[in-house]
Symmetry: none
Subunit: 249 residues, 2 copies
């Protein structure tokens, strides 16, 4: 069996089982456990798996319950949110995507900002109801309970009539070659429609999202105008090479 072939099999198995246990996969594929470990290491580097003690799990934290994602790396998210808020100006129409990091962006908007915020997240709308100067518009449709954003045909239709100056896009997984990906189909439609209707696209991604990939591709990285992240030492050159302005929080 060829190496690449074996790795493809591991990925298949990861997707069907939802997990990989290194010890039981070795004998199964006829190689030593060390080789499996090296494979998992490679797949983790490519963002296709998340390495844990004893094996590997799917790369996205999207499968986790909502509360878990919200509590994940709160300091990093706040820093990213502050940096992102500085990119928004008076008079703009801001399309604010749902997600735990973008929720922080909503919390950190400049107090006197006079902008119109359009969002698909009920929680962001709740937060911005306390902001005295921004206009808030909520996009309607079906609520996806896992990601807590509005999806479905209605919102795609509603997005058609909106031309936003800037989109703040929450990122599940981003990879220089694969592009921006999510692990749910409906969400991918919504994010794609948002990108299509915004002049600038600012992606917010905590460091653990960088270099990972999920099932559904939304767009290539080159569609972004800005990428706000908190990784101090990651190699951001591949993103810059694609024309993205990288902002370190």
């Amino acid at each position: 069996m060829l190496t690449e072939e074996r790795r493809a099999l591991i990925l298949n198995r990861l997707q069907s089982d939802g997990k990989i246990v290194a010890a039981e996969l070795g004998p199964d594929l006829g190689v030593s456990i060390d080789t499996i470990r090296r494979d998992l290491q490679e797949l983790a580097n490519a963002g296709l798996a998340r390495r844990v003690h004893g094996g590997a799990l799917p790369p996205t934290s999207g499968a986790l319950p909502y509360a878990a994602r919200r509590a994940h790396a709160p300091a990093a998210k706040a820093a990213i949110a502050r940096a992102t808020a500085k990119l928004l100006h008076d008079g703009q129409v801001v399309l604010l995507d749902g997600g735990t990091t973008t929720l922080e962006v909503a919390r950190h908007l400049a107090p006197g900002l006079r902008a119109t915020v359009v969002t698909n997240s009920p929680e962001i709308a709740s937060v911005l109801a306390d902001h005295s100067t921004v206009e808030v518009a909520l996009l309607g449709g079906l609520l996806d309970k896992a990601s807590r954003v509005v999806v479905g045909a209605a919102i795609i239709e509603a997005l058609r009539s909106i031309r936003a100056d800037v989109l703040v896009l929450g990122i599940c997984s981003i990879h220089p070659e694969v592009g921006i990906t999510v692990d749910e189909l409906e969400e991918s439609y919504v994010k794609r429609a948002m990108i299509a209707n915004a002049a600038e696209v600012v992606a917010v991604a905590s460091a653990d999202k960088l270099g990972s990939a999920a099932q559904y591709v939304i767009a290539p990285v080159s569609e972004l105008t800005h990428l706000v992240t908190d990784e101090p030492d990651a190699d951001m050159a591949p993103y810059r090479a694609l024309g993205v302005e990288v902002v370190l929080a």
Copy 2:
């Protein structure tokens, strides 16, 4: 089973049961109680659970703002909400108006209720995202910051395409002769459109709303099919005379 996997299971269980008892979870997952304890410790460190003697509880739900209004007569609102929830059944399309009392209704929906809830309140949508069996649809439009509901032309248009089995209507002021009134124009349009598109109309009103009137008239009391309230000794005869079924919480 991988460690991370086990912790995810514990989180799921915490969310579904509302609590974790360490002693009964150990044998269930096939590990010792010490391991469960360590897991709970980790989850508590991550802010995903609150450690208590004997197990764990969900982390303190973030106290949302405008607690002032919500703190107003909470016991009465909860009682009204429970009584209202009993009027809703599987298979119905429920139009759930925004408001502090209707928010309590959302909180008190029967856990296994299989209904579709359509709402104009982002906060109600947030609450129902945690309900496992109801479908949630959010009506889009401009957000009114004072009342925290969606208003405007867009929602009136969206309501046109909805035929609800039952509307749960939040009441600001209700008077047997003047009818149902609110003090904001935009809100009145929305409530009127909701009433027009629902087969049954259940109004929820704490006792202090009874017999008062505000600036903008929405509809006569006779449009209601039910009125849920908590006043034990008020004279409800005028409402009954208008064909409204009065439910005392």
